[in-house]
């Protein structure tokens, strides 16, 4: 039972001091979670702390590999809209 940080992490440090288990590791190219230490904050906080402050959608996964902050949930940008805008810019 552990969460996972993936490559879309921007190394912003926000999660690291919040972890009650010191499970977050500063690393390059992105931060990591020590699966042996992570408890998903169960018994300590209502919500996993790293997930609750992470500003990047999709950067933290649960043990099933599901994004805990799915697209659109943090920015409010409808999924697909950003892709459409990027495609439009690339076509210029």
């Amino acid at each position: 039972m552990a969460l996972e940080i993936i490559e879309s992490c921007v190394n912003c440090w926000a999660c690291l001091p919040l972890c009650p288990n010191q499970a977050i590791i500063q690393a390059e190219p992105h931060f990591l979670i020590d699966a042996g230490k992570c408890t998903e904050c169960i018994g300590e906080f209502r919500d996993a702390q790293c997930v609750s402050i992470c500003p990047i959608e999709g950067a933290i996964l649960d043990e099933l590999g599901e994004a805990l902050n799915p697209p659109g949930s943090l920015t409010g940008i409808p999924p697909g809209r950003w892709a459409a805008v990027r495609a439009e810019i690339a076509a210029r």
Binding site: V10, S52, I53, I56, T75, G76, E88
Partner: protein
């Protein structure tokens, strides 16, 4: 005196500072002498100072505890000049070394600020460790920080302990319904909170923090981002509220939103305000509050005078190789400050003398002003160090002054891409010049040291008169000389105001 020359050649970006000034006719009228003295060498808080003094931001604070719709935490581009954007994150030790290196190379350096790229108070250990070391190693450098305010009340004692004299709070609203359209979420008491509830908590903490800072005698500037259709009609109330609570300066900045930035506002097509809309709002608030007009909205790793960014000269590998004599550098800074301070005092005394000589005369001879004294004129100035100094085509920014019968005052600045920066850019020159002219469209005059024939013609065709006859003159004197020429030539009849401003 000869100030060490600061190279204004184009660098990676035309960075800026989250500050404001206006130490003359407009901005600082309401200030006590004690406050004036405290901001006299702070480029972000004093309009006069920003011509002479430099600042730097150290990017030690990567974490943030809120999300703003104008910010995208993924973005990092050296060519992009926006708050919240940096190229290199520093540890406190690295930040201290960089600050000392910059302060040795640029003796105008008077202020060290921490502004991100996240929020300084969401990274309290890194932020306060940097301040602690600098207070010991460079006691002549003023320390300040810029925050979203969420954690201000919690850290107020620590701030006061580190002798931080100036704090900027970004306050975009005092109404949670407005805030819900700006802030999608905050991190508060171990939970992510969304929507109106998040905005209400943030606003409460900001206002409480403002009151606590003022109670401790710390100077507070308030930054607001002008977002058309979201908070434009609300900012007057923000201005009144923060003034009533003791903020001494209000800096209303234009929203920066481009689709390519990937921010909510950029992607969703929220437009930025026009220069005229920004000026109108600043003028509207100015009746109640000291307004800052010289902010350049700089990056969280900006280095140098406002309007320039020399950050690229002080990357970690470069400062590692520098040999620095800290004591000697501090002595050079002290000497330079004394000289600038004497120059500014002489300048103010001269202005006072002129005012004393001229104003009573006007009152005496034109008691009812039967003939209008001439309408105000906006002039764009290619300036450096407080004088008309730059070649039009090399200018990356223009200061905008409003000249009128009561004198010339800074009312804003406009960014421009220096279109004349080498042959390889010439193909683009045409459209860049067009963009510069567009940015200056509400001005009637451009004051510069020199200008080429082609831009001269294009400006004149757009109704903007170039003027290269006042090179190296102080800006206010040059602007007033041109205004009086226009008045004498009968160009300042009042009805033309509407036509040009429409």
């Amino acid at each position: 005196m000869d100030l060490p020359v600061i190279d204004s050649s184009p660098t990676a970006s035309g960075g800026c500072a989250a500050g404001s000034c206006g130490a003359k006719s407009g901005q600082m009228d309401g200030l006590t002498d004690a406050i004036r003295a405290r901001v006299a060498d702070h480029p972000c808080y004093s309009e006069d100072a920003h011509h002479y003094f430099a600042r730097m931001h150290v990017a030690v604070a990567p974490a943030c505890n809120i999300q703003c719709h104008y910010c995208n935490r993924k973005y990092d581009c050296a060519n992009e000049s926006r708050p919240g954007v940096v190229s290199e994150l520093l540890s406190p030790d690295q930040a201290v070394r960089k600050t000392l290196a910059v302060a040795a190379a640029i003796p105008q350096m008077s202020v060290l600020g921490i502004a991100g790229p996240g929020d300084p108070l969401a990274n309290p250990e890194r932020t306060f460790e940097t301040f602690r070391q600098l207070a010991l190693k460079a006691p002549d450098i003023k320390l300040c920080l810029s925050t979203n305010g969420l954690m201000l009340p919690a850290h107020i004692d620590e701030l006061a302990k580190h002798n931080i004299d100036h704090v900027t709070i970004t306050i975009n609203c005092v109404d949670a319904d407005v805030g819900a359209q700006i802030y999608p979420w905050i991190f508060w008491q171990n939970k992510r909170i969304h929507g109106r509830e998040a905005a209400a908590i943030l606003i409460w903490q900001q206002q409480k923090g403002l009151e606590m800072l003022v109670a401790r005698g710390i100077l507070v500037k308030v930054n607001s981002v002008l977002i058309p259709g979201v908070n434009d009609r609300h900012l007057r109330e923000v201005s009144k509220t923060v003034k009533a609570k003791g903020a001494f300066l209000h800096n209303v900045m234009p929203l920066i939103a481009e689709p390519g930035h990937g921010t909510f506002y950029g992607v969703m097509g929220q437009r930025s305000p026009t220069p005229a809309e920004l000026k109108a709002l600043q003028d509207d608030c100015a009746g109640d509050m000291n307004m800052m007009r010289h902010c350049r909205q700089c990056r969280a790793d900006a280095v140098g005078l406002l309007g320039e960014d020399r950050g690229a000269e002080f990357s970690l590998d470069k400062i590692e190789a520098m040999e620095i004599d800290y004591e000697a550098a501090m002595a050079v800074r002290a000497e330079l400050r004394a000289q600038v301070s004497a120059d500014l005092a002489a300048k103010r005394a001269k202005e006072e003398a002129q005012r004393a000589a001229v104003v009573p005369q006007l009152i005496e001879f034109q008691p009812r002003a039967e003939k209008p004294a001439g309408r105000p004129v906006l002039m764009a100035v290619a300036a450096k160090g407080g004088v008309v100094a730059s070649h039009f085509g090399h200018s990356r920014e223009f200061l905008v002054y409003e000249a009128s019968s009561t004198g010339a005052r800074l009312v804003g600045h406009r960014k421009a891409d220096a279109y004349c920066s080498g042959e390889e850019n010439c193909i683009d020159g045409d459209s860049l010049l067009g963009r510069t002219i567009k940015a200056l469209e509400d001005c009637e005059v451009v004051l510069c040291a020199r200008i080429g024939i082609e831009p001269w013609g294009r400006l004149a065709a757009a109704g903007i008169q170039p003027n290269g006859e006042h090179a190296m003159e102080p800006i206010e004197e040059a602007a007033m000389a041109v205004w009086h020429e226009m008045l004498a030539a009968g160009k300042l009849a009042p009805e033309k105001t509407e036509a040009k401003r429409a």
